[in-house]
């Protein structure tokens, strides 16, 4: 069969904020750029980011990038790489202003400057009073960023492949990445996109857990593509649970609610965060608030007939504040739980929210792996940015507002590095037929006819097992049980079949390939979590409640082959300032 083929200088897989920011940098430099996205670009998950983007502009309260850096290192529970964190925090203000110039309508103060709101984990003066660092375009920051970047890309003549599904990376025997095999979802036809560089910007994998805040397209495809290409994924045991998701449904109730003065209560009406974080209370960082809620529920102080959630109270803010500052929240509560927060608190519980782990990169966006002698060698031609990457600025725990910043800063940095690479690498390397064949086999596997397990059921089972065995509370037994269960699902997946073998918009086939991706990432997550015998950031072990810097201040690397684990040191040396040595993390 003849397979269609296209050639570009650069391929970007993913059209969220990370992919679009990189593509824009490249198109403006007059590289030919293909952006592939499984959904129409402005339907990417970045559209969901409501809260905002951090930058130490100091428009509301005193601030500077060094304080932001301190908060990010501390928030990461000292697992973040301090060179990348310094780079990000220093670049933040410039990136916000650049976005504004691209057309993002940031909300304003009366004096005309960009409005900034306080978010959890932000401080002035290295751990002092609450800072106000988050820039927002009302409660649609992600939407505004995504649309502005998309329009700018159209203007810069970026070539979009909308509704194409990336199947696998193409790689030659010397390890160069040559592009990707993709599938035109509308026609069901495969297409080879050859490129001198390929950037993965496919977002996170929130769909691993039953209760989550993520769009259903967040199935970690790029991370799994990297795994299949022999590249490890890093720090997958660190999955952020947002403390306030709508109980039983997952939808996010933004931290901004607590920033504006909303607080949590248990069934006795007690403002329990005062016991867990006396200083920051409801604005303590996400892992601390999530764990506190889970403990309240476990110890019998949960609300509702099943005692399975706590309440987020905001009626004391008054209808005016709720209408003006939190316009989306009220409707979310009314729509999904039929509760009006103007007079009734919202039932909430921790919900899987953000993938701290991902494809290991350096601060230039180059994918790095222990290929030969070194622990971090760039994979030639391959880049990653955004939530699918692990650079690692979030370490064991991401601060709210730092992810939009991450995708913009490192999308841009990757774009810049790629430009340099293209200047040195003028020609496409020859296409590697074996690599194409492997991708085609992956497609053909779902053409098999006959009876088998259903993809839908397996996915639901996977999500339930991950929630039960790799959620907010983890012990050796629970995780061991999880590893066994997920491995069994991996086996059963071999025998799964789809019923629909049509070509046009065959969602069943896409969902099957997404499930394959998720199963690999579930294994990476639960196996990495089982191995890490400490509690750090979002990874909380009941049996190892303390952080253990002597043995565990290191990054995990998980390889698909043989489920192998490896480790590499945290980069504790910043670029220009003194390093922040690990300290006990109190808020």
């Amino acid at each position: 069969m003849a397979i269609a083929k296209r050639k570009f200088d650069s391929l970007v897989i993913g059209a969220g904020g990370g992919g679009l920011r990189a593509a824009l940098q490249l198109s403006r430099a007059e590289a030919t750029v293909a952006v592939v996205s499984k959904v129409f670009p402005t339907r990417s998950h970045t559209v969901a980011a409501q809260g905002g983007m951090n930058a130490a502009l100091a428009n509301v309260l005193p601030d500077n990038w060094h304080w932001h850096m301190y908060d990010t290192v501390k928030g990461s529970d000292y697992l973040g790489d301090q060179d990348a964190i310094e780079y990000m925090c220093r670049a933040a203000s410039h990136c916000v202003i650049e976005l504004e110039h691209s057309g993002v309508p940031f909300s304003r103060l009366d004096n005309g400057k960009i409005y900034q709101r306080p978010f959890g984990g932000q401080s002035q003066n290295f751990g002092g009073d609450q800072a106000a660092r988050t820039c927002a375009a009302a409660d649609r920051t992600g939407h505004a960023i995504l649309h502005a970047l998309y329009q700018q890309n159209i203007r810069a003549k970026t070539h979009f492949f909308d509704e194409y599904f990336a199947v696998d990376l193409l790689k030659d025997d010397e390890g160069y990445v040559l592009g990707a095999l993709v599938l035109d979802i509308e026609t069901g036809e495969p297409l080879i996109i050859e490129a001198k560089t390929t950037l993965l910007a496919t977002g996170g994998v929130g769909q691993l857990f039953r209760t989550n805040t993520n769009a259903r397209i967040n199935t970690g495809d790029g991370m799994a593509m990297a795994l299949r290409a022999g590249i490890p994924v890093q720090d997958m045991e660190f999955f952020q649970f947002h403390p306030t998701g709508i109980a039983g449904k997952g939808m996010l109730i933004t931290e901004g609610v607590r920033g504006e003065g909303g607080y949590l209560i248990n069934k006795d009406g007690e403002r329990f965060m005062e016991r867990y974080a006396p200083h920051a209370r409801d604005l303590a960082s996400r892992d601390i608030v999530s764990r506190a809620i889970a403990i309240e529920v476990r110890e019998g102080r949960g609300c509702g007939p099943r005692g399975d959630h706590v309440l987020l109270k905001l009626d004391h803010l008054g209808a005016d504040v709720i209408h003006k500052r939190l316009p989306g929240i009220r409707e979310t509560a009314i729509t999904f739980v039929h509760v009006d927060p103007v007079d009734t608190p919202i039932p909430v519980f921790p919900t899987a929210h953000y993938t701290m782990g991902g494809i290991p990169t350096n601060r230039f966006g180059q994918v790095v792996a222990p290929l030969g002698q070194l622990v971090e060698e760039p994979v030639p031609g391959l880049y990653a940015a955004g939530e699918c990457a692990c650079v690692s600025v979030h370490g064991a725990n991401r601060l709210g507002g730092n992810s939009l910043l991450d995708i913009i800063v490192f999308g841009r940095a990757a774009g810049n590095h790629i430009i340099g690479y293209l200047q040195e690498n003028h020609y496409h390397r020859p296409l590697h037929a074996d690599s194409v064949d492997r991708g085609m086999q992956r497609l053909a596997r779902w053409d098999q006819q006959g009876d088998g397990e259903s993809v839908d059921n397996l996915r639901m089972e996977l999500q339930r097992e991950m929630e039960n065995h790799c959620g907010v509370f983890r012990t050796a037994e629970v995780l061991q049980d999880g590893v066994v269960k997920i491995k069994a699902i991996e086996q059963r997946l071999q025998h799964a079949r789809i019923k629909d073998h049509s070509k046009i918009f065959n969602t069943a086939r896409i969902e099957a390939m997404e499930l394959e991706n998720m199963v690999d990432l579930a294994l990476a997550t639960v196996i990495s979590a089982q191995a890490r015998q400490e509690s750090r950031g979002a990874h909380s072990r009941v049996d190892f409640p303390e952080r253990d810097d002597v043995h565990w201040m290191k990054h995990t690397l998980f390889f698909k082959e043989g489920y192998k684990l490896d480790y590499k040191p945290v980069r504790t040396k910043p670029l220009s300032v003194d390093s922040f040595p690990p300290q006990k993390r109190v808020y």
Binding site: K38, V47, H147, T187, I192, A215, G250, M251, T335, I504
Partner: protein
């Protein structure tokens, strides 16, 4: 064997239902949950006119769609506002 410089044929008659289902995949859980769940439960029972309104609704950008489905904005088009109401009613707690 490869076909160089491929341009996809976008004018072939797609399978309407599958195409619409793919359009229910959006950037936010809120929209996915409302649209996909509604599609699975009720699409087959919609009249031709309601289907057309649903298709029109899906062409809205995500932020506007969210406004409609959260009940903050009522679409001008009567058919569309009727479908929005149906979607909102289909949510169970």
């Amino acid at each position: 064997m490869y076909i160089e410089n491929y341009e996809p044929q976008r004018d072939q008659p797609g399978q309407q239902k599958s195409r619409l289902y793919w359009q229910c995949r959006r950037g936010m859980l809120e929209l996915d949950s409302l649209l996909q769940d509604f599609f699975k439960q009720q699409f087959d029972a919609l009249t031709a006119q309601q289907r057309a309104s649903f298709e029109l609704l899906l062409q809205s950008p995500d932020d506007l769609l969210l406004e409609y489905l959260m009940g903050r904005v009522v679409p001008m088009d009567a058919g569309m506002s009727d479908v929005v109401a149906k979607i909102r009613q289909s949510v169970t707690v």
